[in-house]
Amino acid sequence: MSRRRVLALFRRVVAEIRRDRPSLALLFIAPIVITGLVTFILRESQAPQVTAVVVNLAGQRGELVGTALGTALREGGATISDVADEPTAIAAIVAGTASIGIVIGTDATAGGGLTITAITNGLDPSGEASQVAAVGRAMLQAAGSASGATVPAVRHATVYGAPSDDPVTTFAPAIVGFFAYFFVYVLTGVSFLRERTGGTLERLMATPVTRGEVVAGYTLGFGLFATIQVAVLMLWTLGSLHIPALGPLPSFSIGLGVAVNGSPMLAFVVVVLLAVGAVSLGIFLSTFARTELQVIQFIPIVLAPQFLLSGVLFPVSNLPSILQPLVAIMPLNYAVDGLRQVFIRGADLGVPALQLDLVVLGIVAAFFATIAALTIRRDVV
């Protein structure tokens, strides 16, 4: 491998991206906007507003339960009203004047025991689940105050971090990893496809440049921008620059201010290793694309599974067991885990879990670099 030729390729790739303003914007501004938005949503989302209509079909006993439940719900900020029967309650939910219906009835099969049915409209499962959960909590509280006994509260403690921590803390590592992967893949894929279709690869292969040198030059060039992107994104995620109030402007802060317990440099190494793998993946997949549109079309096939199976959105441990082998081969999974190890656990290089993440990311990067080099065939038609 000739250092001069690799350097020439590196310089060329850098010059090309530098002149491509929209891509630069994509690289730096898009992740900042999206992480900012996600953080805002996670931190500022409101507690569910419960507007309940209560139907009592259990006479005297139901009246008592209904009153206790109503009191507990009102303490939680809910609005309660009584209605005569179930159809009226459903009509209120359909009309949008109630978010949940609570039907207190008797169950003949259970020897006349009381049952409580919560009715929601079923269009927003996760939002409605939090409504039902609020009713459950109020029920527990009502039962406690009715019996005069103290209901033991469950406290949650964690080994690393604290359960009451900012939700962004667990989300930030995932999103930093994903963005590095996504943008590097798209930019390399499209740029290498241009190389193939524009005839420059044909010409390049007629020079003494080797395939390994091409991969090395691309990796260095896109790696540089990925590194800068990750640095900017990390500063934005971890930093918090407080701007004091000035005249009519209120004070505000720039940056998400996510707490990191480990070394930011180590987190940086994890993401750079991931990005190097993404450069080679882009080169490799551009072999199978004829147009730039097709590079984009690979995203659902290649990136969506990684997004779904790497703990970005759904916790890996909750995924069905049949998907676990797939989880084990997703490069992004190791990066997200590695970043969480560093961010939350404060892991250093002595932690075996982080060692595994780094080794796997290194192997993945080397593997894709090799197959990328092999697919830059001399027989380009």
């Binding site: 491998m1 000739s2 001069r4 030729r5 350097l7 020439a8 390729l9 310089r11 060329r12 010059a15 090309e16 002149r19 491509d20 524009g198 005839g199 420059t200 044909e202 010409r203 390049l204 292969m205 007629a206 020079t207 003494p208 440049v209 080797t210 001399r378 027989d379 380009v380």
Partner: protein, 253 residues
């Protein structure tokens, strides 16, 4: 590290600069190049002429080592192709422009120069002078006209001053005035000792070559100067000669 092999000067003189021996290239059932044999001498301009799809580009790709022959062999300056180290002595102007649109003219030349191991500003300035693009050296290639881009493409092929130059349809999309300029460049390079192989399907360019090879269905059906071929076919122009020689070959099959 690429090995730079110095070839004794007499190799360019006495032995042929380019040799092809029974070259065959098949793509599945299709024999794109079907048993081509020739020796080409140094310092001359050879025209490979034939219709689209006759195998001209594949012959050039075999000679540059961009593709491996199914059988037979090709030699450039005494070295069997494909040979990576030999590529620094070959210039190749592809049919597509093959230049980077986001870079400037000079950046393109510097880049391709570097891939050949040629550094510094002198080779860039020289190549620009040859194709008469010196005034556009800082222009972004995307802003150039088609003809200017074609000139840059040629400059990129000769930035390292190779003794061998392959030009695949260099004058496609080039206006008549620029075409005349291109041919005077080619002649000047050949006079300085460069061996040039030009592919074309434009017969009126053929007479500017020292020697012609007519290619049809992957085989060389005639070779000689324009005059010799006209005489052989008994026709007043090369176009008719090509048709007549082609049908003669078909008849003997």
């Amino acid at each position: 590290m690429a090995l730079q092999v110095e070839v004794p000067l007499e190799a360019a003189g006495s032995t042929p600069a380019i040799r092809a021996h029974d070259l065959v290239k098949s793509f599945g059932a299709l024999r794109a190049v079907d048993g081509v044999t020739f020796d080409l001498a140094a310092g001359r301009i050879y025209g490979i002429l034939g219709p689209n799809g006759s195998g001209k580009t594949t012959v050039i790709r075999l000679l540059t080592g961009l593709t491996r022959p199914s059988s037979g062999w090709a030699e450039v300056l005494g070295t069997r192709m494909p040979s990576r180290s030999n590529l620094s002595r070959i210039g190749y102007m592809t049919q597509a422009d093959g230049v980077y649109a986001a870079l400037t003219v000079a950046e393109n030349l510097r880049f391709f120069g570097a891939t050949y191991g040629v550094e510094g500003d002198e080779p860039v300035a020289h190549a620009l002078e040859v194709v008469d693009l010196a005034d556009r050296r800082s222009s972004i290639v995307g802003t150039l006209s088609g003809g200017q881009r074609r000139r840059l493409s040629l400059a990129c092929a000769l930035v390292h001053r190779p003794p061998i130059l392959f030009l695949d349809e260099p004058t496609v999309g080039v206006d008549p005035l620029l075409r005349v300029q291109f041919w005077s460049h080619f002649r000047a390079l050949a006079d300085a000792g460069t061996t040039i192989v030009v592919s074309s399907h434009v017969m009126d360019e053929a007479d500017r070559c020292d020697e012609l090879l007519f290619v049809r269905s992957g085989t060389v059906i005639a070779r000689g100067t324009g005059q010799e071929i006209r005489a052989q076919a008994g026709t007043p122009d090369l176009e008719q000669a090509f048709v007549r020689l082609g049908s003669a070959v078909e008849a003997t099959r």
